[in-house]
Structure formats: C-alpha cells, structure tokens
Symmetry: C2
Subunit: 411 residues, 2 copies
C-alpha cells in the first residue's frame, strides 16, 4: 500500500527536485494545471521588471539594439529547439499557435498543388480544425478538411492528401500519436506533415528531426511556463525552409526589413515565418522562463511525468473509484502525455470544489476533470495530496489543502 511517506521518499530521491525553487508557487496550492498555464518562474518576473523599467522606460527605442529585442524570436526559438528535437535555427517564436498553423498549412498546401485533402483527426484541438476550415473556405477551389478518428489516421494517409495535420498529444485523453510511423507514411505517400506539439513541448521528449517532420507548431504558456498567452513557436525542417512560402507574410520575414523595399523578398531560413513586431514584454518573460530548462533533459522530465500520471490514476481509482470516477483515455503510461483526464457526471461541480480547496485542475465539457503534471515543480506528494483532497470532496467532506497538511503534520 503506497503511503504519503512513500511519496515523500520519491520526492527526496528525485533528480529534478531542485527545480521547484526556480518557481513562485502560491502557498498552500497544489497546481495541476501547468498543461494549461504554467506557473511563474522567478526569472520571468525579474526579466519583465527589467524590460519595463529599464528597457522600455529608460532606453526606449534604443533597446532594439542595446537589449537585443530584435533577436528574441530566434533566441527563444533556439532554446525551444533543443527540447522538441530540433536544431538551432529551425524554430522561431512568434504570433499564436493558430496563426503559425495557418502559415505552415498555407505553405504546405501551396507546395502540393493538385492535391486537395487536408487530413486531420477528431482528437485534434478544435482551433486547428477551424484554421483548416477557414483556409479551405477562402480558397473555394475544392480543398477540403477530412477528419477521421485518431486510430484511422495512418490508413487514411493516401495520395490525394496534400498535408497531414495532427496533434501529437491529445488535449483530453493524452493519447500520443506515433510520430515516426505517421511521418514516414505521410512521406511515403508524398504528403507533407504538420505536428502540433501544444501538449507535447516541455512534456515529452522531442523527436522532430529524428522522425524527419516537415513542420511543427506549439505553444509556450503550458509546460514551458512562458506566461499567459506567451507567443507560440513554429518549426520548419531546414531542408524545406527556403522552399516554402506562407500566404501570410510581413516585414519581419523580409530579407531586409529596414530597407523598406516595395517588393517582398523572403528572408532565408526560419526567419520568413515572422510577420510583424512581437509583444516584447511577453516575449521577454518567455525567454527568461526558458532558461530554467537549460540544464534539463526531456527524458528525465518525461520519466517523472509518467510516474506521476500512473500514481495519480492508481491512487484515484483506489480511493475515488467507488464514487464513479473513471479514467478517460489510455492507461499505457509509456505512450501518453503528461496530463490525466478523469470523468465524472458531476465533473464541473467537483472541479469547482477542488479549486476552492486550492487543488487546481480544469474542467473540459461535458464531464472531464483534467490534471496536468509538470515535473519541474510538481512533486509526488502533490499527487498524493491532490487525490486525498479529491476523495474529501467526493466524500462530502470539507478538507482543504492547508487543513490536510496540518493534519498530516500532527499524525
């Protein structure tokens, strides 16, 4: 029987435990929503303060050179590249994930004239499907989005597909697609492929270059802790960077933005995925947040996340199963993302009760409670305590985290 003491022992032996001190975690809160909005790294707070007070406030326009504002998209991109299995110079931080998808999707569609099908699956995040629908409506030339079930994607990759557009880690079930097999099949059939890494970046080991992916996009406000709505990233395989052109281009993607020429000439490399000026304060917060990852290996992060997910499910089923709580999605912890969805008919009310007791997850309609596990700051004892609070809520009790910790301290 696994006890709280066992959880404490696991934490004590954890090679990532020192990282928790890099974050500002609210007192008494068990935060299991780092897959939605990561917590504040102390480095980000410091950087934002400097950016506003010194860079904007004192140095103003000269900060573009003096403080390297102009290089932030590439600099932050390089820090992310290592985590997602890409090389330096193949990732840029810019705009939002949906906008970056639009760029690479339009570029991919233009690269495969004659093919009219964009293939995706029903487990994809809805905004990705909307982006494809918006593009197809606009083109009005027979391009269409074909949505199949996740397990049918592999077989649905045929020679009429121009681009396969799927999310590696399902935002609800945490199921992971097999990037290697699907990418290989896409290339075998002459398709291009776009991987959405929204729930993968900072959670699972990167493999973009290993699998020879064409494009990838992802967001930075989840596991990467870039702050609310921090700019997204886009990856283009170096072999394609100078061969593709999005429908959406702008001056920061020009070969010489400050020459103010009338005609667009695309910059070489990943830079052509940039369009306009980025929100520098948010970008600086992200760039500083990424420094926390400098000495981290994703395999270690993933190993801990898998253990935390497995433990959470085991404890929740053992202690809360009688209350009708069930796991949504796979229990194959070796092949899934770092969040867990539990289902319950009263999921919304239960999540509200958990939040009022300072255990933070999120609700996903119609009946899901989603909990994310961020190995840099979540501990095994967080997992143990969260389940205990969940059981307290389900039992109709009034426990909150502080009460619970005090109780533990005296028993």
């Amino acid at each position: 029987m696994f006890t709280r003491t066992d959880a404490l022992r696991l934490d004590d032996a954890c090679t990532l435990k020192h990282k928790r001190a890099a974050f500002s975690i609210p007192e008494g809160m068990i935060y299991l929503d780092g897959n939605s909005l990561g917590v504040l790294p102390a480095s980000a707070m410091t950087r934002v303060k400097r950016t506003v007070e010194i860079e904007w406030g004192q140095d103003l326009i000269t900060s573009w050179h003096k403080h390297g504002w102009g290089e932030l998209p590439q600099k932050a991109g390089d820090k992310i590249a290592r985590l997602i299995g890409a090389e330096a110079g193949s990732v840029v931080v810019t705009d939002t994930i949906s906008i970056n998808l639009f760029k690479v999707l339009s570029a991919a569609v233009a690269k495969r004239p004659g093919r009219k099908i964009i293939l995706s699956d029903s487990g994809n995040f809805p905004s990705d499907l909307y982006v494809a629908q918006g593009l197809c409506s606009f083109m009005a030339d027979g391009h269409e989005l074909r949505v199949v079930e996740p397990e049918e994607v592999y077989n649905a990759i045929t020679e009429d597909v121009c681009v396969v557009m799927i999310t590696e880690t399902d935002y609800r079930s945490a199921r992971r697609h097999n990037m290697k097999e699907i990418t290989a099949k896409a290339h075998e059939k002459g398709c291009l492929i776009i991987w959405d890494l929204a729930h993968s970046a900072g959670a699972v080991p990167g493999q973009l270059m290993d699998v020879n992916a064409d494009f990838a996009i992802g967001c930075t406000y989840k596991y990467l802790n870039g702050g609310p709505g921090s700019p997204a990233f886009v990856f283009v395989n170096p072999r394609l960077q100078n061969e593709i052109l999005p429908a959406l281009v702008g001056w920061w993607g020009h070969a010489q933005p400050f020459a103010f020429e009338q005609n667009y000439v695309a910059a070489q490399g990943i830079t052509r995925m940039q369009v306009g000026t980025w929100p520098t304060i948010s970008m600086q917060a992200l760039d500083a947040a990424l420094d926390v990852w400098a000495d981290i290996e994703m395999v270690d992060v993933y190993a801990k996340a898998q253990k935390m997910c497995a433990l959470f499910v085991e404890l929740a089923e053992a202690r809360c199963g009688a209350h009708g709580v069930t796991l949504y999605g796979s229990r194959d912890f070796a092949h899934r993302g770092s969040h867990v969805c539990l289902r319950h008919t009263q999921a919304y009310a239960i999540m509200q009760a958990l939040i009022s007791r300072r255990v933070i997850g999120d609700f996903r309609a119609p009946d899901m409670m989603r909990f994310g596990f961020a190995p840099l700051y979540n501990s095994y004892v967080d997992v143990w305590d969260a389940v205990e609070v969940l059981r307290g809520v389900l039992d109709g009790g009034l426990w909150d985290v502080e009460e619970f910790r005090e109780r533990k301290a005296v028993t």
Copy 2:
C-alpha cells in the same frame, strides 16, 4: 524672433501639460520617437507588476475570470474606438498590424469575387504591400497588387478594384490622405476600403464612422504608448461585421470557443477577428496605457501636434537650413500627421550624434531623420531644445542636452 522663453510660455498655457506626469520620461532625454515607440506610462508599470506577481503568480489559471483576461481584447478595443472615430464594439485588440491587415484583406477579397485588383500606393508602409503580395501569390488566380503614386490614388479607384488599401498618414512625409473623399470614391466604384492608421491613431482625430470606412487597422506601440510590440487593433464597420469572414480564423473567434466543437461557427460582431490567445502581459500594459487617454479629446492633441511640428520645422530651417537640412514632405500643417522628416546627406551620422546627446529620433534610409511629436508628454521647450542640439551637432559642437540645460540655467 521666437525664444526659449516663448516656448516655456506656450507650455505653461498648454491644457495638456498635466499629462506629462503620467509618464516615466528618462531624465535629461528629449524623446521625439513616440511615433515609433511611445514612452512608459506609470499606469502600465503598475499593471504589469500586478499581472505578473498577482494574476499569473498567485491566481494563475483562475485569472481568466477573476481578473477579466478574457475580455481584454474588447475592453482595450473600446478604449481605442473613441480615439479613432469608431463606436464601442467595433474594434478589437489582437495580433499584429500585418496579421490584422491579412484578415481584413482576405475578407474583403472574398467579398468582391470577380474583381482582381488590390489598390495601394507607394507611400504605404512596405509591410502592407508585402501582406497583399503574399496573399496574391498564394491565391495564384490573377489577383494582383496595383501600386500607384499617393496623389494618383483617387483617380486609380476604378470598377476593377476589389479593395483599396492605404495608410492615412505617410510614415515618412506625414502626408495625410483625404479619408472622406477616397472612401466615398471607393464606395461609388463598389470597392471596399481598408485604412491603416499606424501613424494616425493617437495622433490625428479619428473619423472612421464619419467617413463610413469599411475596415481599419493600426498599431498601439506608437502614440498610444502600449509598450514594445503591444498588440494591434482592427476595426470593422458594424454594417459589415457579420457579413465577412477572414481566411484566417481560430477558436477565439468561434461563437462558442469552450464548446470545443469540430466545426467553425463565427462569433457575431467584431469578435470573429480574434484567432488565438493573446499575450496577456503585453495586453495588460496596453490596456493600462490607454487609461491615460480617458479624458483626452483628439482635437486638442492634434492641435498641439500641429503647432509643435510647425515650430520644429520653422526653427530647424532658421537655424540649421544653412547646413543643408531640408524638410521632406508637406508643410501644410493643417493636413499632415504628427511627425517630421528632415533630410540630410549625413542623416545617419547626425541621428547617431543626436541620440548620443539624448535627443532621440530615428533614421529612415536613405537620408531621413524622423522626429515624432507626442502632445501628451512632449513640450514646446522639447522642440526648442531639440533644434538647438541639432544645430550644435551640425556646427560640430559637443553639446548634449544636460550641458545645454545647465548653460541655459546660468544665462
């Protein structure tokens, strides 16, 4: 003969003079680049600190409701609407100016099938031209960008034009197009019209609804002081909001983003111009910066800017004309924007010297020095002193702002 004492008297009589205290202006700096990056409002610093420490740091994901993150694009949009002559509910703050141009341009093109010409002029900001070129290249169906000289725009509006896409205030010469006449001509010929207000918003009185404009876009980091790269705005005339659809759509423009439906259903109104999640820290800085404008009438701002521009040109010509400094663009101060471009063969070197002497403007290739006048924090004595420093540089002297002020204090 206008003296520094006259400038001080004008400042003393200025009805906007109390606003300067709302900004953090570096000691000893004469900042004439508010048309490129506005200075830091104290309110923005306070808001950013609260956003990072309390909202992100403590309240985390619950801030979306608790601190109104979800309403920021509309809330900030409404504050801008008043300044640009639009009504509440017709402006949203989101993404960048180039991306917003892409949205409204694609929507306009789709609304005028059969017409293939996008009309613009050579005075437009290059990124706007790039956006149109990118869209036309992608469509590859005969759509083309036609670029004429600014003074030819009116006559170039013909029935083969689907959309007229021009910038009201020229980023170099400060020439302003006649919005009323050009919009009326566009509508007479059945074209849609997009106004870029990058160098107008916060500088010249808004007239979007007065002239019945279809679309407008603009940025917020210039005269509106939203901070480096702060998100841009987009206006859609209420009569068109539910009739148009951009090629680029995403979940925040969905009628029910959190229903996570597979099919895109556009939200009613201006909301459909939103795509993905916004950079909240930068957005909060902007929202707070806009509060400085709450009791401001644009006619007062513009009147002061016109006087400052006229005075700057008069003083510069009188004192620096012999050194080969000439005005670029119109001297019709009743019909121009709030910046001035001076030409000189050594413009780059002179601007560097000015910056080292803490008079900040910017250089625009090949031979322009650009100075922006922001009536909320620039004073008439700033104008007088800046010209004096410019003269000092041109005379080959070593004056800087501090020395100059000290000298004045003792003479």
